[in-house]
């Protein structure tokens, strides 16, 4: 797992993808923070949660190549014939993408320190919001990884992942359009946006944590099955 993780992580920074991804995050964080800070805004947790939209739209960029590129270049023959378990391959790739994503949140530590120097802050709420964003990221990365295992084209993987991410986030808004009461209630509960929002409050919500963790686990499992299925094609 470690070998795959290391290779995959390094490969983000051999192409412009890793740099562009991080640059975009730092740009938006910087922009939001400077604007809000000027207006007397001191809640870094809210700032974190407001990144959810940007995360939704940008994560497909770092997940699109994870498995599709290997298949396109036929490198999957190397990895799948090496004495490595499929789960290790999937986890190695998952954690590489997750680490790049997590590095994107580094500036918020500085923001929190700057704010803490001026007003009294609740450090728990910062970490709780950060946990929320990490859980959202993990869920979206596992979805992206799964989609990437289904196709040989990174561009196709990115497109499909984007559509699914948007659906996952805006499920509740879309459900309103359909006039079925029980359906919109279910969608409202399942929508990522409502789950993420709960991390903005300081109330510890086990169901929301479990929700994201189970989505992540489910899609990682599906990715392993998808690789396994290819052997039987």
């Amino acid at each position: 797992m470690l070998a795959i993780f290391k290779r995959e992580f390094k490969s983000y920074f051999k192409t412009p993808i890793g740099y562009i991804f991080l640059a975009a995050y730092y740009f938006f964080f910087g922009l939001f923070f400077s604007r809000y800070f000027e207006g007397g805004f001191t809640l870094v947790p809210q700032l974190l949660i407001s990144m959810a939209m940007i995360v939704t739209f940008t994560l497909p960029i770092i997940t699109m190549r994870l498995l599709s590129e290997d298949r396109r270049q036929k490198v999957d023959q190397l990895i799948l014939t090496a004495p490595v378990r499929l789960s290790s391959i999937v986890l190695g790739k998952f954690f590489a993408a997750f680490l790049v994503y997590a590095i994107g949140f580094a500036p918020t530590v500085i923001f929190e320190i700057i704010v803490a120097g001026r007003v009294k802050v609740n450090v728990f709420s910062y970490f709780y919001a950060l946990l929320g964003m990490f859980l959202l990221g993990a869920a979206l990365i596992s979805i992206g990884l799964f989609i990437s295992s289904l196709t040989e084209s990174p561009a196709m993987a990115a497109m499909i992942t984007l559509v699914i991410n948007i659906l996952a986030i805006f499920m509740s808004s879309l459900a309103v359009l359909v006039d079925i009461d029980w359906l919109s209630k279910i969608c409202d509960k399942l929508a990522f946006v409502s789950a993420v929002d709960s991390f903005e409050k300081t109330v510890f919500s086990i169901p929301d944590i479990v929700y994201f963790l189970s989505i992540t686990a489910a899609f990682l499992f599906l990715t392993v099955r998808s690789l396994e299925k290819k052997r039987w094609a």
């Binding site: 070998a3 290779r7 270049q73 490198v75 190397l78 014939t81 090496a82 039987w232």
Partner: protein
């Protein structure tokens, strides 16, 4: 070392591998020969654990590839038809990655340096793989297969796309490795198999149609009175004309051999000597016969003849063997000195 029994693989309704059985002893070097799409790569992909099978059993060093894939894969070094390279890595980074991936226990630096020396890529170790020529890429792929010094090497068309000098180098390398490895080598290029492998398994349409030493195969087929003729003519017209000669069973064109001249392998019905009839036919059609010889079929002729036959059973009858029987390699040990290629 490798046991394959009653192996079948279906892609949808297409039977890519059909009830194939063979066993390869430790230290043997075996050539898989067959036209494109015969099922060579599929069989190799199954042995290496990349693909699953529909029915049968594959063991490597006694370990079932399905039940204990990790242990079996540890014993195999695989060079697929298209070398699996991360082109954004340097050669050294790539080999380091494979070393870690395979969880090899040897001292890393010394092991990788030795492999790079063996396949002659030390001079490009710092270069990105995407900037390397086809020949170097092939060798880097080969180096990857050698990492961890696995007992079994499975090489799928290792010389495809190489220039003649590189092909020769590759053969020398394979022969060198054959001293302490079990090797399966596939190719549709005949001289390669002939020069490197002692034992040849001919595969066509997913079935084994011959499993014997190259020399034995030549001998068995040379027993009939097959005639090889080189004629200055139009290929298709002459093929038809020759086929119409009495006593001729089949005619196979071996392609253009020199300016305007084609070579044909003409198989007679048993008991017929067709040499005179062939001579007359060519003379009557106003074409020039450059040479006419009988017997001593080359592996190329055997191959074409066997793989052009529609019926696999007929091919097996022609050889007088049941392809299911593994050959007795003890006997063939002394045949075919491969060191002087």
């Amino acid at each position: 070392m490798i046991e394959v029994s009653s192996l079948s693989k279906k892609y949808g309704n297409h039977l890519a591998v059909d009830n194939v059985s063979f066993s390869i002893n430790k230290g043997e070097i075996v050539g898989f020969l067959g036209p494109n799409g015969a099922g060579k790569s599929t069989i190799m992909n199954i042995i290496t654990g990349y693909l699953s099978y529909t029915a049968g059993k594959v063991t490597v060093d006694g370990i079932d590839i399905m039940n204990n894939p990790e242990a079996a894969k540890k014993r195999i070094g695989y060079l697929p038809e298209i070398p699996p390279l991360y082109i954004d890595m340097t050669v050294r980074e790539y080999l380091d990655f494979i070393f870690d991936l395979k969880k090899v226990k040897f001292p890393k630096n010394a092991h990788i340096e030795e492999i790079m020396r063996l396949v002659k890529i030390t001079d490009v170790k710092g270069r990105l793989i995407k900037n390397l020529s086809k020949g170097y890429r092939q060798r880097v792929g080969f180096a990857g297969a050698l990492v961890g010094n696995p007992d079994v090497l499975i090489l799928d068309e290792p010389t495809v796309g190489l220039d003649p000098k590189q092909i020769l180098d590759m053969r020398v390398l394979i022969t060198k490795l054959a001293k302490n490895h079990t090797i399966i080598l596939s190719s549709h290029i005949l001289p390669e198999i002939q020069s490197v492998c002692k034992r040849v398994i001919i595969i066509n349409k997913g079935q084994i149609i011959a499993d014997d030493t190259a020399d034995n195969l030549s001998q068995k087929l040379a027993q009939d009175n097959t005639v090889t003729a080189r004629i200055i003519c139009d290929e298709d017209d002459m093929k038809k004309a020759l086929a119409s000669v009495e006593g001729v069973k089949s005619v196979i064109s071996l392609g253009k051999k020199e300016n305007g001249a084609y070579e044909f392998s003409i198989v007679p019905n048993s008991g017929f000597d067709i040499r005179a009839a062939i001579f007359s036919k060519v003379k009557d059609s106003g074409k020039t016969l450059l040479s006419l010889s009988s017997g001593g079929a080359s592996l190329e002729q055997i191959f074409l003849r066997l793989t052009e036959l529609e019926d696999t059973e007929e091919a097996r009858r022609m050889l007088g063997t049941d392809a299911g029987d593994p050959v007795n390699t003890e006997e063939s040990e002394e045949n075919g000195d491969v060191s002087d290629i």
